[in-house]
């Protein structure tokens, strides 16, 4: 038998077993933490983004998150477009041009890197060719690749944040009766899709000192919202050093407000078409509703010709 296949099969089986064991122990321990639901302007079947909140959230991203995390599925132009933070185009252009994480490019000779020479003309190394960002470019983080990120971050990888709220959700810890008969119908009726934002808010506001009997790994932080309670990310926001908002930004800066705003901003980054989706959704629902009623009346009329 092929040894490569055998070993990959064995690895998969081992992985599946590990997972089921991990899941068992997590479930036995009560699973992840309880995540409190927050109220969001973009929640439910009618919610829309709050432009001012997205602008504040971008500021939090810019001043804190972007030190480690990229936002590469969002282009600078998206910050200008309707349904988002809707910053003025000129301001975004200027910001993109000054953004420290520049765009990889080709040299005039068509190369990714150019030779560095000292003043005697001796080759001393290479440097990547980079240029300032334009509106059409993605918002990049500080690291060129995973290896560079891990090397700089004590082995941890700060994920790109473009989809972070979509890629997280909250678990339902209720028994089956409440879960299936109460919570699920309620969530479907109100259009609850904000689990990722709820989780992110909880994560950002749940850093704490570990309990006495808890052993933290080296360089790890204690966080009650994070599964397993040990997270590599240092607290990105803090009570004592809030990210200040300008006069007229619509809210007063605090740890909670910073967290709420950046969670809203990243929800937009993960789902930039939400405003249009829900607006068109209601137009479609209205059309379908009227047509359904008309078709029902037509059906009733047709069937009134016979006993049935």
């Amino acid at each position: 038998m092929n040894t490569k296949l055998t070993s990959s099969l064995a690895a998969t089986v081992a992985a599946v077993l590990t997972v089921s064991l991990a899941v068992s122990s997590a479930a036995a321990a009560g699973g992840g933490a309880h995540i409190e639901r927050q109220s969001w302007s973009f929640a439910g079947f009618s919610g829309q983004y709050d432009k001012q909140q997205l602008q504040r959230g971008f500021k939090v991203y810019q001043e804190s998150c972007s030190n480690c995390h990229g936002l590469s599925r969002i282009a600078w132009r998206n910050l200008v477009q309707p349904g988002g933070p809707e910053f003025p185009e000129e301001a975004v252009k200027a910001l993109a041009a000054k953004w420290p994480n520049q765009i990889p490019d080709l040299s005039d000779e068509g190369e990714l890197a150019r030779v560095k020479k000292d003043k005697d003309g001796k080759v001393t190394g290479f440097e990547y060719v980079k240029r300032a960002a334009k509106l059409s470019d993605p918002i990049l983080g500080p690291y060129a690749n995973e290896q560079q990120a891990r090397a700089a971050q004590n082995g941890a990888l700060p994920p790109d944040l473009s989809l972070i709220t979509k890629a997280r959700n909250v678990e339902n810890h209720s028994g089956w009766v409440k879960h299936v008969l109460v919570d699920m119908p309620k969530d479907m009726l109100v259009g609850y899709q904000e689990g990722g934002a709820d989780y992110l808010y909880a994560l950002l506001t749940s850093y704490a000192d570990p309990p006495a009997n808890f052993t933290l790994g080296e360089g790890m932080q204690f966080n009650t919202a994070f599964p397993g309670n040990q997270i590599a990310m240092i607290p990105p926001l803090s009570k004592d050093n809030v990210i200040a908002y300008e006069e007229g930004a619509g809210a007063k800066a605090s740890l909670e407000q910073n967290s709420r705003d950046v969670a809203a901003f990243l929800s937009w980054a993960g789902d930039p078409t939400l405003n249009a989706r829900k607006r068109i959704g209601w137009q479609v629902m209205l059309y379908l509703l009227i047509t359904t009623v008309l078709l029902y009346l037509a059906k009733k009329r047709v069937w009134s010709r016979i006993a049935h």
Binding site: T12, F45, L163, G191, T292
Partner: protein
């Protein structure tokens, strides 16, 4: 084709000329307009039309998505994000397709339970029913491969777990399971080759489904529709022409169904999916909780309920294959469960067992969950293999109406006022 005489009479010379060469208008007229529809069928009979609608939605949206999608391991995830973010109305097409798969299964399951309840699998509809079982199998294969295409974490690990099931065949003939797995993967692990072939098959299988659906509808139009009494059409009083009666009802039901469909597309596009599928596939990181889409959960629960891997795989496939045999496992003299005082309680238990297996499939396989999964799995098979044959023999059915018309108009069978 069809069990009734053609009533089509070409009105113009051109229509007559055409009719003598390719009687497609005659086919339409006989099968879609004049086709005899039992006058007593209820709204559960509208799901056939709804399913055709679902199939068309999946085909149209799928073909458009394929114009923007890249079926390679490096680009698949990015291309789905490109569709969501940059393609004009890409988010709409993608939501329609993803939610559409769920709606397709929802309608198919209702359609199947309707057939089970009213005995629509019994003679003369055995072939019609078995074609339906083939369709649901083809749908499952298509949906499974489609779910791999976004190449997120759940895509990748669902493919890994499910394709690995075939390795259990090594327990029967050593080497065969491994060979099948290797053949499915196109290599020694799930990777780009697997994705590319799944994309190809995901595009092919829907057309196989179309073919099966044509046969399914053909068979339906030979034997005619069943109805809530299970009594066949006997006289002219028993039926109404398909148009405008069934068509007006189907159209209303389709739009009512579209309301639910649109609710999920616009307001809950990710509710039926899994957050982990917004993380790009990574062979080195296993998600904490690998679960299939909701429509596979009952089968997943059966798979995990059996303590042996091979046994679980056999049970999972058997849970569908057993449906092929129920036309002969059901020994009842009457079709409709409405007239079966004992069996109707067992039918209720079957529905509960299927829903419970769905819930348990989403839970970790441990402790009480696994015990309940075993109980409901045992019931699922016992229902078809033991209860159906035995209850059919010992039960005395309630008296059937003499005709469909009598069930609607009362024993006097009044002449309809048309």
């Amino acid at each position: 084709m069809g069990s009734h005489e053609s009533t089509y009479a070409p009105k113009s010379r051109l229509a007559k000329w055409w009719d003598e060469r390719l009687p497609v208008m005659r086919l339409m007229s006989d099968q879609l307009i004049e086709f005899p529809t039992p006058r007593n069928i209820n709204y559960l009979w509208t799901f056939g039309g709804i399913l055709v609608l679902c199939l068309v939605v999946q085909l149209v949206t799928g073909i458009v998505l394929a114009m923007h999608y890249h079926g390679t391991a490096a680009d698949a995830f990015n291309s789905v994000e490109h569709i969501r973010r940059n393609v004009n109305y890409g988010w709409l097409i993608r939501n329609l397709h993803a939610v559409g798969a769920s709606m397709f299964f929802l309608a198919a399951y209702i359609h199947m339970f309707r057939g089970l309840y009213y005995g629509s699998y019994k003679a003369p509809r055995e072939i019609l029913w078995i074609l339906g079982v083939f369709i649901i199998l083809a749908m499952m294969a298509t949906a499974f491969m489609g779910y791999s295409l976004p190449w997120g974490q759940m895509s990748f690990w669902a493919v890994t777990v499910i394709t690995n099931l075939f390795s259990s065949l090594d327990g029967i003939i050593p080497g065969v399971g491994t060979a099948i797995v290797e053949w499915l993967w196109g290599g020694y692990s799930v990777g780009g080759a697997t994705l590319t072939r799944f994309f190809s098959l995901h595009y092919l299988l829907p057309f196989v489904i179309v073919g099966l659906v044509v046969l399914h509808i053909w068979a339906l139009h030979i034997v005619g529709q069943n109805n809530p009494t299970g009594v066949e059409i006997k006289t002219r009083e028993d039926w109404v022409p398909m148009h405008p009666f069934a068509t007006s009802k189907d159209l209303f039901a389709m739009f009512a169904f579209l309301l639910l469909f649109a609710w999920f597309v616009f307001f809950l596009p990710d509710y039926l999916g899994h957050a982990d599928n917004y993380i790009e596939a990574n062979p080195l990181v296993t998600p904490p909780h690998i679960v299939p889409e909701w429509y596979f959960l009952p089968f997943y629960a059966i798979l995990r309920a059996i303590p042996s891997k091979l046994g679980g795989v056999i049970a999972m496939f058997a849970s569908i294959v057993v449906l092929v045999f129920i036309p002969w496992l059901d020994t009842s003299r009457v079709k409709s469960t409405k007239y079966r005082p004992i069996y109707r309680w067992f039918f209720l238990l079957l529905v509960i067992a299927c829903l419970a297996l769905g819930y348990l499939g989403a839970k970790p396989a441990e402790g009480d969950y696994i015990m309940w999964a075993r109980i409901f799995t045992a019931y699922y098979f016992a229902h078809f293999l033991i209860i159906m044959p035995i209850v059919g023999i010992i039960e005395t059915p309630r008296t059937l109406p003499r005709s469909i018309a009598e069930s609607v108009l009362g024993p006097s069978a009044a002449v309809e006022k048309r």
